[in-house]
Amino acid sequence: MKKFLMGLLLVAGSTASAQSLLINGAGATFPAPLYQKWFSEYNKINPNLKFNYQAIGSGGGIKQFSEGTVDFGATDAPMKDDQIAKVPDVVHIPTVLGAVVVAYNAPGLKNLRFSGETLADIFSGKITKWNDPAIAADNPGVKMPDQSITIARRSDGSGTNAIFTDYLSKVSPEFKTKVGSGTSVNWPVGLGGKGNDGVTGLIKSTPGSIGYVELAYALQQKLTVAEIKNKDGNWVKPSIESTTAAAAGVEMPADYRVSITNAAGKDSWPIAGFTWLLVHKDMKDQAKGTAMVNFLRWALTDGEKMATPLDYAPLPQPVQERVMKTIDTLTVNGTKVSAK
């Protein structure tokens, strides 16, 4: 009888653990639709493994990961050195790329082009009219109206802000000292809209406006977007391909914490950035750790193929291969996880 009960308990225990493996994560909102897709697809292959991902923002993701309340974090901006000091064993795993595009609503004007310096001057309030000589010089042959520029920007802290201001700070030292870069900055001019849809609403409803939104959002909403001059001096259209090209034009450090705005390469879109998953180099929970490593392997191979249909830019081949090697170095209680 006793043995029977013990057996029952064992069976109950093992089925319970097999069913209830739940990995918790939190962080960036930008890649959340793709991550949700990954988690649900991966769950179809591994019905015993569930992911719970809360898109609370990159800042919250870093914080919860540092405090150990979630198993993995996700962020659009790499952790700073003082943040890493709190979790020294963090590993940044780049998953996909995001890009920021410049959209505008100037009646009668199409196919506008901007150089980085012109954009920085517009968004710092130095250029106030559409017929400014700097804009005219970028767009030879186009008749510019004598109209004020209304700037639409993100009012909420976001990775989009971080990538865009990082780019403007790189191309214009003046923008760097006057505004600087970060998820929230002190914009000297313009109207703030909440989220991509808020900015889009401002642009669509305000004639003479210019703003910036995520590439995926601009593609889905079919916004009028500008070409931008990249580091090599070419005019580039924003697209998934030009975003992936930007990541190929950058020298990758070992910890992947790198800004790829204003990247070299003739096809590189200059306003792009990685988004990262944050995991521990050595995970303590045997079941969760093993599952996490196997999931990362799947995400960087099969998962990458789901990026383009959802308007995310996949990693370029060489970067993807390097990240796979990094995933192989992750350990659970000191032992490496062999590939399935």
Binding site: K63, S155, G182, S184
Partner: protein, 326 residues
């Protein structure tokens, strides 16, 4: 007879109030006390918690410096609350200015002038306004009200009243005026329905006395209804003000979200709840989070002070000389 019996019952109830011998009464009494104290404890804990989160800010800024500085720069970790406080107060005041005359007029019409049936029917759409989620108000503001302000109202105001600093600057639509207008619609149902309830309590005898003395319908309202319900109407306005001060979503969608202080109502501004909602999720530095918690404390204090002031005002109004009957 029935009255006498009622009085007896009241006396009996009053005698029973402390209920010393009755266990059930004491348990009930204790539970209610606990509930009452809990409200205070929760409010106190919220303040304490916000203050703890705001502590990193206190290392870098003095309280007075934080309230009076108008710079908000997360890149350099320099924070000031003034533009947000200003935006919150200006938009709330605007909404009260726009909503209260309409609301009191509507309440008077419903209770005094409209046929009883029409009055009942009218309260339905007004109360329906209260059930609309604020994000819907925000969308309506962004796509309907803002273009309308930009293309019609603001140019007109600028042409005719442009000499006032209030109506200067380019008409962009988004800004203090748009936020005030949206808030006015949002607080209207609160002010109307509470005013209606208050006015309904005016004893019929007071009104009839005024009419019997030869007052017109209008005079009867001014003599009997308004003085009787003054305190209650003030209370209704305060409830509306409370909602206007704390409204987040609708305001952030139409105010323009620029931490700047401008005299012009056409300019873009920012409000306390809006900046907290906008920046909290992606705030990383402790000082930034502390500053947002500090704004929360200021919002809390503002609401508290306005409420306390209003209570004093209500008491003063109740003691006012022109009151006809108690």
């Amino acid at each position: 007879m029935a009255e006498a019996a009622g009085n007896l019952a009241v006396e009996a109830a009053e005698e029973n109030r402390p209920g010393p011998g009755n266990v059930g009464d004491r348990v009930f009494n204790g539970t209610l006390w606990a509930l009452g104290v809990m409200v205070l404890v929760v409010a106190g804990l919220i303040v304490l918690n916000l203050a703890l989160v705001a502590r990193p800010l206190a290392k870098e800024h003095s309280l007075w410096g934080f309230i009076t500085s108008s710079e908000w720069n997360p890149v350099d970790d320099r924070y000031g609350a003034l533009p947000f406080l200003y935006g919150t107060l200006v938009t709330s005041a605007l909404s009260i200015l726009m909503a209260v005359p309409v609301a009191i007029g509507l309440a008077l019409f419903i209770t005094q002038f409209a046929p009883a049936k029409l009055g009942r029917v009218l309260t339905i759409p007004v109360e329906l306004l209260a059930a609309i989620p604020s994000v819907v108000y925000g969308l309506w503001g962004l796509f309907i009200v803002v273009p309308w302000l930009r293309e019609s109202i603001q140019p007109w105001l600028g042409r005719h009243f442009g000499f006032l600093p209030l109506f200067q600057g380019p008409p962009i639509g988004l800004g203090f005026l748009a936020a005030g207008a949206i808030l006015a619609v949002m607080i209207l149902p609160t002010v109307v329905s509470v005013s209606v309830e208050v006015m309904k309590t005016t004893p019929e005898a007071n009104r009839e006395a005024a009419l019997a003395l030869g007052a017109t319908k209008w005079e009867a309202v001014m003599l009997a209804v308004i003085p009787y319900s003054r305190a209650g109407i003030l209370g209704a306005v305060l409830l509306g003000l409370g909602r206007a001060l704390g409204e987040t979503m609708a305001v952030t969608m139409v105010i323009g979200n620029s931490p700047r202080i401008s005299a012009s109502l056409f300019a873009a501004g920012y409000s306390l709840p809006a900046v907290i909602a906008n920046e909290f999720a992606e705030a990383v530095s402790d000082v930034h989070i502390g500053a947002l918690a500090g704004l929360g404390l200021i919002l809390f204090a503002t609401t508290f002070l306005l409420n306390a002031g209003a209570r004093i005002l209500v008491t003063a109004v109740q003691k006012g000389p022109s009151r006809i009957s108690g």
